[in-house]
Symmetry: C2
Subunit: 658 residues, 2 copies
């Protein structure tokens, strides 16, 4: 009947799967709406569309559209080197901000660099090298305006741990250093490749929650490692787990602790923490914690120099090479057994470094509301690390603490990185010998005060409140890092994240719907207790695409809803279910396994004298129902635009307003 | 205003996120419906609920509810050994069907077993052993009524290939056999473990399409391997890829082919294929292809015996051990280097065997409409293989071809497996010596005619029509198996399946919605060209849960939709977008990364003077929006039950009927 209505109304151009009267319009006339079949797409177009959505989701080529060739070349060049785009509008007022920000982060980065190099088991100058070349390159190629580039604590620790597993740095420092450059090289290649092939979305698989836990765990681990410098212990474990470290600390308690070191370290740590607290309380005084480390270094170095405390067992930096980065191209292992090892370490550390840099870039981009092309960022970071590996730098990335200071000091562009880089250059050329008497305890205090803010209790509390599963991932990563090692923590974080994805795709939600009184809207009866079931009809909504990974579950779950309903009806001796309406709005796609499951569902229902009805299948689903002839199997008039339409047609005599 | 309406109507018990007038009811009065907040669940209950949905989705403990203790024990026993449940209603009439079916599949399995054992590089009796013990055990523990248990072609080939990679069967047959038992043992353990811990859903990750491709590829590979027997070639490659095999065949063409063998093999292959064709054309004559192999064996053996063709180069079975299965418990490697190898092979082969058995079980269960508990099936199959490995059997599973014959011959219960098993027992005890003169060429013909139906062109065509991505997975598996090896094919199939899942969770679909004329329904404007956009309002639907893996993409995609829209509006110089409505019906869940992305979206929109509005968030989403205070951020009155409600409230002065 409804078909005839459709014809009468002249809807011949639309598909004839279904036709049902829609009562809910103000004139109260029976209009007919059919489930739309999207225009058939060319196969190649379809594939191109999918590829585009996957790899070019951000439509990076938009600006190239309809441009003459010469203009395109300029655009390509500008895309590779954004400095030539924003540089044209650069002004003195902008430079003022960048200069102040650059000087501030330089004063913060110099002591941090020396400390972080030690975390990676490298000599202090390598930290400084890594704050010279990479920021310069990033300034030309990067698109973030706020990120501060250089060595960071977590990546230094990770790299140090991974390298140490292969070569003992105290026994074979030359090969250790060479392996560090090799790993840095491959980290850069990895970053570049991910960006170039637009695979940047892969890093999204490390969830925010997992990163929070991992960072907090790494911060604790790094702080524990600093007990060596802070307490002046000479013999210290090489393991990073809390049990080994605490055992090492206690066993040294009787003869290995040095009270002068403890005195210096603790007093400056207190000073740094107070400075940090001041900066946190008054945003205007952000420069206090930013220059406190440099002040500590200067003061303590002077103090050790005049008291010659190094003769009383206070360990000092001793030697730090003067001059800028030497070439290290020939140091990289391009063959031999260390090639594979360097590659493996580089890929892992490169991914982590990337995750940190992209997270920072995105955070500040969203605060200042500019777009950041993640893949372009990766190309910039990758290039910077490849060049870095050839100029005696180890893995550099975006630093959370320094980027925040950069932002607060009023940076406008990546020029602040150039300023910082220049200050580091001067430091390397002129004043490195002065660091000779800097006590290690000060570096330990600086690292502790820097990493402590990576333990983000607030974020953890929020994660606990919002999503328990995320909290488990977060804590898994945290305890994995603290009680075992950074790698294990990372492995746990990634595994839990993947488990969550698998859970999502194998066990999608389903819900029984009821009619919300005095509307034509059907909603989950668990969420809306006022919603009422329609007698003789069971409405089930499937909340996911039906794919091979969940098709069996979906089929069986729907049958179980039906069994539950039938049982309830039997108990209250009401008539059984005659129609099962599957609300398909959220079912965005179906594959061959899904079609099979629907066929099996249909057959099972047929044997129980229950009719299967579909409501609102999406374009991809309609396409595939047609291709597989499933619409003929269940009947063309059993597919409706809305649940209401289905109910009106299936049960025309039922009183729908209870 | 709407809040006051809500209060006036006494909706105080519901949450006060949103209130909006719903005009679409017949009386045309403004009613208020709010977005329901589901009752707060206890944390433990929530976790228990998730665990139950994941591992006990089929509610297997339903029948244990409210039963006395003694009854529960009986039920547990019956659950473990279903034969004691259905056995009580067993009747003579049922036995008649089972007897005929059992005899038919026995006649089919005996020649197949001998051939399949050769595929696994084992002596023929091991095939027969594996058709004796495992079916018996399955009959007691399994819940499928139609499956026929025994060695199958694909698993035999896979096992043979994997074992051969470790030990050369011609050089070290003793260790090879021991490794086969070890692998079988661990395959059983794997199957049992998956079932016992209710991890059966893991096998769903091998999609239907991938299985179709894999099976077809394996069938071609198996058929190619039979060229050795069919052409009487003595020197044959050990590789299974088509290139190596064809090269081996051609290089033997001049002196290695044996015309007597070819004559026997080809004529019986023709006979078998004709029998198969007859069985396909007339369903009633299903027994013709079922007994044709046995007839071929008898005829050809007799023929070779009287002509002594074996003296003219026709290869024969030669020796086949008489008597039932000897114990092989002491043969299994429980230590040494082969333990790990056996374990690895067992896990892989066990999973594939499981996939095949469960697929068969489900197919026939849905044809006869009975429920099959996949996890219980796995426990049964696992037990049967563990016991099998101790009684000289190699990996057995459900056979497609024999199960189909079993079904068509009218089997009623697993008793047909017992009948088959008994016939195999008699064969082993009495007539194995008679197989001495059976020519290998006949076994090759039988295998070819058996595996040929695994190449399911029809299914492939359907896959091509329905889902191109599935087709790629299918072909990947197919060509992987044919041109490389079974393992590579399997790896390709699993990888493509996983890639599809990753694509689904990283790149969910989004759609711009429009109002379907004269309704209150909003649908994808690409699917429904008649749907019209509402001026000043952009409605975007997100078709997936928003998780860490896609949160950035979703945010950026929504902003891109907005940019596209703004561009279009600017071109036609119409006013810009004021409201962005995100239709959240399909968004079943959100995690902390998702909340972050929504916050970033909100901030970006704020800077562009566009207001963010949410429509119909589900229970889990509402919960988390509350926990994270996001609902306070965007404003409590910006969350609506339906898109229509949102539009009516946001743009009350707009004329909604164009």
């Amino acid at each position: 009947m409804s078909h005839r209505v459709a014809d009468a109304l002249g809807y011949k151009d639309m598909d004839n799967i279904s036709a049902a009267s829609s009562r809910h319009n103000s004139e109260n006339l029976p209009y007919v709406h059919k489930v739309g079949v999207p225009p058939k797409q060319n196969l190649l177009k379809e594939i191109a569309g999918t590829l585009k959505e996957t790899f070019f989701a951000d439509d990076p080529l938009r600006q190239f559209k309809d441009q003459p060739r010469s203009r395109k070349l300029v655009l390509v060049f500008q895309a590779l080197f954004p400095i030539f785009e924003w540089g044209r509008n650069y002004s003195l007022s902008k430079f003022k901000g960048d200069l102040i920000a650059g000087l501030t982060i330089a004063s913060l980065c110099i002591p941090q660099d020396i400390g972080y190099a030690k975390l990676a088991n490298l000599d202090p100058q390598y930290g400084l090298y890594s704050s010279f070349v990479p920021p310069l390159i990033y300034a030309f190629m990067g698109s973030s305006r706020d990120i501060a580039i250089g060595p960071v604590a977590v990546v230094s620790l990770l790299l140090g741990t991974l390298l140490q597993n292969e070569i003992d740095p105290s026994e074979n420092p030359v090969d250790y250093l060479r392996l560090a450059f090799t790993a840095t090289f491959f980290a850069g290649i990895t970053q570049f490749t991910l960006g170039f092939f637009r695979l940047g979305f892969l890093i999204d698989f490390l969830s925010h929650a997992a990163i929070v836990g991992f960072m907090a765990g790494a911060a604790i681990t790094i702080a524990l490692q600093q007990l060596k410098g802070l307490l002046g212990i000479k013999k210290f474990t090489k393991k990073t787990d809390i049990v080994s470290v605490m055992r090492s600390v206690w066993s040294a308690a009787h003869h290995g602790w040095n009270w002068e070191t403890i005195l210096i370290g603790m007093s400056f740590l207190a000073f740094l923490l107070v400075a940090k607290y001041i900066g946190k309380k008054k945003k205007k005084l952000f420069w206090v914690p930013a220059i406190a480390p440099l002040i500590s270094v200067v003061l303590s170095t002077f103090f050790v120099y005049i008291t010659r405390a190094d003769k009383h067992g206070v360990q000092i930096v001793k030697h730090i090479r003067r001059g800028i980065n030497p070439s290290s191209l020939n140091e990289i292992f391009f063959s031999g057994e260390y090639l594979a090892k360097g590659f493996r370490i580089g890929v892992l550390a490169g991914m982590i470094a990337l995750t940190e840099a992209v997270a920072i870039g995105r955070t500040f981009a969203s605060m200042k509301d500019y777009q950041l092309d993640g893949n372009k960022e990766m190309v910039a970071l990758g290039t910077m690390n490849v060049v870095g590996s050839m100029t005696s730098c180890y893995l550099a990335t975006g630093s959370f603490s320094r980027s925040a200071v950069n932002y607060m000091a009023g940076c406008n562009t990546a020029v602040s990185n150039i300023v910082m880089s220049s200050v580091v250059l001067l430091t390397l050329e002129l004043i490195t010998p002065l660091f000779k008497y800097t006590p290690n305890a000060i570096l330990a205090s600086i690292i502790i005060s820097a990493v402590i803010s990576l333990v983000d209790i607030e974020a953890m509390t929020l994660i606990w409140k919002v999503d328990k599963f995320d909290f488990v991932a977060s804590m898994g990563a945290f305890f994995g890092v603290v009680f075992s090692s950074v790698e294990i923590g990372l492995l746990i974080a990634v595994s839990i994240s993947f488990a969550k994805i698998l859970l999502q795709v194998t066990r999608p939600r389903t819900a029984v719907l009821g009619k919300i009184p005095r509307t034509t809207v059907y909603r989950n009866i668990l969420q809306y207790p006022a919603a009422t079931k329609v007698p003789g009809i069971l409405i089930v909504r499937v909340d996911s695409a039906i794919y091979f990974s969940n098709s069996n579950y979906v089929k069986e779950r729907i049958l179980r809803w039906l069994a539950d309903e039938e049982e309830q009806l039997k108990e209250s001796s009401r008539p059984g279910v005659q129609y099962l309406i599957v609300e398909m709005s959220p079912v965005t796609d179906i594959d061959t396994s899904g079609i099979h499951a629907m066929e099996e569902l249909f057959r099972s229902l047929e044997k129980r004298d229950v009719k299967l009805v579909l409501a609102n299948p999406g374009p991809a689903v309609v396409d595939k129902l047609h291709a597989s002839k499933f619409h003929e199997m269940i009947g063309e008039d059993r597919i409706f635009l809305t649940v209401e339409d289905a109910i009106v047609t299936c049960a025309p005599k039922m009183d729908l307003e209870p």
